[in-house]
């Protein structure tokens, strides 16, 4: 195996296994290691992280961008697999365990008890995105106008995305 690809595996696979709570838990460690390897400067890392948060999909897809920098398309593929496969194997085991429990009063209580936990985390996640330094006043206003449409009308998210894209691009040229 190409030593650059092996390097990507050695950096990302352990991070994958320690990403308890999701991708944000390992971003700081990832930056330290990627910079120490000499793959990126801290400034480049920050730029790629901003890009991965603006793009669709999990922000851990920054692993694809780093892999690309290190070893082109093969690097992007190896980086992505290394960040997702190890944690996915663990998660799959947890899912099988969960599903093997079957229906029981205990499981019903577990589901009802976890619902408010999930709800608290959903709001916390939205707040974290809104607190990010790059969020503009225009985005904040758009979020709450869109929320109004989603809650009080039958308009779905896809038309709203198209309208937001047109408005945001138009405002660039006003």
């Amino acid at each position: 195996m190409d030593s650059r690809l092996l390097g990507l595996v050695l950096v990302f696979a352990p991070l994958s296994l320690f990403s308890f709570g999701g991708g944000q838990a390992i971003i700081a460690d990832m930056q330290v290691q990627v910079v120490n390897q000499g793959w990126l400067t801290p400034q480049q890392f920050a730029e790629l992280f901003a890009l991965s948060r603006a793009a669709p999909g999990p922000s851990t897809l920054i692993a694809a961008l780093i892999g690309w920098q290190v070893a082109g398309f093969a690097g992007a593929l190896v980086g992505t697999l290394s960040i997702y496969v190890p944690s996915s194997i663990v998660m799959y085991g947890a899912v099988r365990w969960w599903q093997s429990r079957g229906d029981s009063p205990w499981r019903a209580a577990l589901q009802r008890g976890l619902a408010p936990v999930a709800m608290g985390l959903v709001f916390a996640g939205a707040l974290t995105v809104l607190q990010a330094a790059q969020v503009s006043a225009l985005q904040l206003v758009t979020t709450f106008v869109a929320l109004g449409f989603l809650v009080f009308t039958k308009v779905g998210p896809y038309p709203l995305m198209i309208v937001a894209a047109i408005v945001f691009v138009a405002l660039q040229y006003v």
């Binding site: 709570g21 669709p56 999909g57 922000s59 996915s88 936990v117 709001f123 939205a126 929320l147 995305m161």
Partner: protein
């Protein structure tokens, strides 16, 4: 370890599973994967109950791994066993993988392209609105004081104070489940 789908799951073809997760993956700006999945999996298609979905969401957040990928593994294997989990995770990550490489290429060649940045910024704003809509919908389902307090405590600790999530969940989730077990026992006896 078996690779069978859950007994309660409706039959869903792998191609339907793939197309749903493709669409969710491409739409999930601003950390909104759970919100788009809720819309597709619970509201539109009825593949899972709301309670099952929320338990899956909590498990996905606590376990190692990106939450959207963990969620796909859960929903996919709930519906179609191991192969379903793989198809769902592949569908979710594949399109954004291609998109981010294209964006990275544009960024490397031209720096920030204003129009592209504007489209992405707009999409992120809608994504956050989707997450907030999911939150308000879930909030309406909470009728009792203890679950409301648990949800509020987690929001304040993790969202406002930025305390580490795992210890918070490890303390509050058992309390929440314990209260439900106690209510259940009380309901049976009285």
């Amino acid at each position: 370890m078996t690779s069978e789908p859950s007994a309660r799951a409706p039959h869903v073809s792998l191609s339907t599973l793939l197309s749903v997760f493709f669409r969710v993956g491409l739409a999930s700006f601003g950390g909104s994967t759970a919100a788009f999945l809720y819309r597709e999996v619970v509201k539109t298609r009825g593949w899972m109950s709301e309670e099952e979905f929320l338990a899956a969401l909590t498990l996905s957040q606590v376990m190692p791994g990106a939450n959207p990928v963990n969620m796909s593994l859960f929903v996919g294997s709930h519906l179609r066993g191991g192969i379903g989990g793989f198809v769902a995770a592949f569908g979710l990550v594949g399109p954004p993988f291609v998109v981010i490489l294209i964006l990275g290429g544009l960024y490397a060649r031209y720096g920030g392209v204003m129009a592209v940045q504007a489209v992405l910024a707009g999409a992120v704003a809608i994504g956050v609105a989707m997450v907030l809509q999911l939150g308000t919908q879930l909030a309406r389902g909470i009728k009792r004081i203890v679950p409301a307090l648990i949800a509020a405590a987690i929001f304040v600790a993790v969202g406002v104070l930025n305390w580490p999530m795992i210890p918070i969940v490890i303390v509050l989730a058992p309390i929440s489940v314990g209260v439900e077990l106690w209510m259940q026992a009380k309901g049976r006896n009285g």
